[in-house]
Symmetry: C2
Subunit: 212 residues, 2 copies
């Protein structure tokens, strides 16, 4: 994969083709007071990059694609399975107090709640637990399933999903984490956890060249 | 900015220059049974992309740079000021209870604590408040400065910092948010807030082509 900053001349060529395309290489060269030969590498680069399309006997077209689109495609290929963490699950019958302890012990911001078949039934966040802890109830007496967000109001993803789609949902739904599930005939089994921390790590990896 | 998938021939050229460089364009062409003219666009692209360097009378060198390095540089240019949110601050003398209320009201995961001069003196996270809420103390009686993380143990950033450096620190320090500060002769004024949500948004923007 190659990344190149466009030079002034290439920007100018794109501008010309955008305004006057389809246009021949000769006509572009004329307009820039350059020879066709001088322009050849620039035109080759712009065509390879997908900015321009060349049709024999007609000339160059502007494709409407921008430079970011291929970066876009590369980032889009990052998958949940390459960035997910281990899920932390608790049984739906444990108390809110025990759920809070598990959260501190495991140092996570979100717990996934499962039923006796180990199937996903709910999610609790630090925010849910903080809200509960302000209430008048005895935390050791209230089961976590009373305060959890329940299926089907839980946003889930699968390991083959793109990290980008998950990141977008985390933003849209204003949540910090999402369970990674595997559907079986029994229901949704929790197999992983994707959080904004995982996305932040992927962002850092982009710079560290561990991604592309 | 251009992004191009390398074609087979370009990969081959890099391989040849890696092994035999410095090498002239003619010698590369010979080895591939092609003319110098055929190779010209490929060599131009590889040179522009920073893979190869051409020195007159000597030939082409392999620079050792990889495709990801320029993407790297692009991501590195994203700045805090383009992604920061508004900070939510509370006075260091407010009660833990009031701090929790502010957190819910403003719907943030981290509060910045300021002194009577509006200078940064501490940070409290949802986790700190949850821990405090489990204690035996009356939350309305305990000032937030008792439980806050204090200067100089707070990691801060400035608006001109790169978003990448901030993302890296959020991961390393295992924190969710960082105050953006401006240093004056009085101390550190809080001017913004960077969270993993902001980084996740930047990640999404990379795909949406709103960045490069």
């Amino acid at each position: 994969m190659i990344i190149i900053e466009l030079n002034k001349r290439q920007e100018l060529i794109i501008q010309i083709v955008k305004e006057r395309g389809p246009i021949t290489g000769e006509a572009i060269a004329d307009q820039l007071n350059l020879t066709r030969a001088t322009l050849r590498p620039d035109l080759a680069i712009l065509t390879m990059a997908g900015y321009l399309e060349a049709r024999p006997r007609v000339g160059y077209f502007y494709t409407g694609k921008t430079g970011g689109q291929l970066l876009s495609e590369a980032v889009r290929k990052l998958m949940v399975q390459d960035y997910q963490s281990l899920p932390v699950v608790v049984d739906k019958n444990v108390s809110v107090y025990d759920a809070i302890c598990t959260m501190f012990l495991e140092d996570v911001g979100t717990l996934f709640i499962v039923d006796h078949d180990s199937l996903l039934t709910g999610v609790v966040s630090r925010k849910d637990l903080l809200r509960a802890s302000l209430g008048k109830q005895e935390l050791t007496a209230v089961p976590v399933n009373i305060i959890m967000t329940r299926m089907p109001n839980i946003t889930v993803c699968q390991r083959e999903d793109s990290l980008y789609e998950v990141a977008k949902k985390l933003i849209e739904k204003q949540i910090d984490a999402m369970p990674v599930v595997k559907y079986t005939n029994r229901g949704a089994e929790v197999t992983g956890r994707i959080t904004k921390t995982n996305i932040t790590r992927a962002f850092v990896d982009l710079v560290n060249n561990e991604v592309l």
